[in-house]
């Protein structure tokens, strides 16, 4: 039998977006672990310690993919809102984590992320002021269709460029 996991697709929102470049996967894992230990104690920390990892962290968009064992993902999920700052080499960076989606595989999370980003772009388009901006967004919208899921890496990087 394989061990089943849950993937939490989150958005890391920092008070000052410039700090994003300094954050590594290790920092995130460390802070998430701390938060679980605080809210769910020794039991929660131990239950989530197995296979808790950051699968993907995009320093440009703040998109974060966390993995956890299926049995205990609720412990992880419920402690994420209690993270109010990241401890990064002695610095405290005020932040919060939005959970966007909970999926059973990375693939479903990816599908959701594409759909989510598409919606975000549509929102942006509404607020556009000049024609050039509008055209740029339209182009990127066309590029992120479900068909292009075959090259997921490509799509993700495309989206990032548009940020």
């Amino acid at each position: 039998m394989r061990f089943k996991s849950r993937y939490l697709l989150c958005e890391l929102v920092l008070e000052d977006p410039r700090w994003r470049q300094n954050i590594s996967q290790g920092t995130v894992v460390y802070n998430v672990r701390e938060a679980i230990a605080r809210t769910h104690g020794d039991f929660g920390a131990a239950a989530c310690a197995v296979s808790l990892s950051v699968k993907y962290l995009n320093v440009y968009t703040g998109v974060l993919l966390l993995r956890c064992r299926k049995d205990f993902y609720q412990l992880l999920w419920s402690s994420l809102p209690f993270i109010t700052s990241l401890d990064n080499r002695g610095q405290r960076i005020p932040c919060f984590i939005n959970t966007l989606h909970v999926g059973g595989t990375i693939r479903t999370c990816q599908k959701f992320l594409i759909q989510y980003n598409k919606n975000q772009l549509l929102q942006l388009m509404k607020n556009c002021t000049n024609a050039a901006e509008k055209e740029a967004i339209r182009q990127s919208l066309q590029s992120c269709s479900l068909k292009s899921l075959e090259e997921p890496e490509f799509v993700l990087s495309k989206n990032e460029e548009n940020e």
Binding site: I36, A37, R38, H40, D42, G44
Partner: protein
């Protein structure tokens, strides 16, 4: 037939006899009750009810964090001499409370442990423990 039947009937009644009704409640109790005793290894310490409650809450906080320590928990009675206590916890917190009591090992540098004597969803059940019937 009931021997007292005749006599009782002569009494003035407030209303007619109540009709029969039966309700079966499955898992009705919102709370679980635990009878516990604190034991020290060697010389012990004196505790007040407030200190005991704090000890239990800190045990919960150690094992189950802030979520555990915020469980609805009441210390219904505490005997300072025997260190016996009756705890009330909401039903979904029973396992959490029990596990933290098990792993409790220290109070102010004294080694200690908590013995669970009885647990029940009914407070009334704690009043009569047949396992304590002592005929020696």
């Amino acid at each position: 037939m009931d021997p007292m039947h005749g006599r009782m009937r002569e009494q003035p009644k407030l209303a007619g006899p109540t009709s029969y009704e039966r309700i079966v409640l499955k898992n009705p109790s919102e709370h679980h009750y635990m009878k516990v005793q604190l034991e020290f290894n060697g010389e012990g310490a004196q505790l007040s009810a407030t200190q005991f409650k704090l000890l239990v809450v800190s045990a919960l906080k150690n094992l189950h964090g802030e979520v555990g320590s915020s469980l609805p928990l009441d210390l219904l009675s505490f005997d300072e001499k025997t260190l016996c206590a009756v705890l009330r916890v909401c039903s979904r917190g029973l396992v959490k409370l029990w596990s933290s009591l098990t792993l409790l090992g220290h109070y102010k540098n004294h080694e200690c442990s908590i013995r669970v004597i009885q647990t029940s969803p009914f407070l009334l059940a704690l009043a009569g423990n047949s396992r304590e019937l002592d005929l020696e």
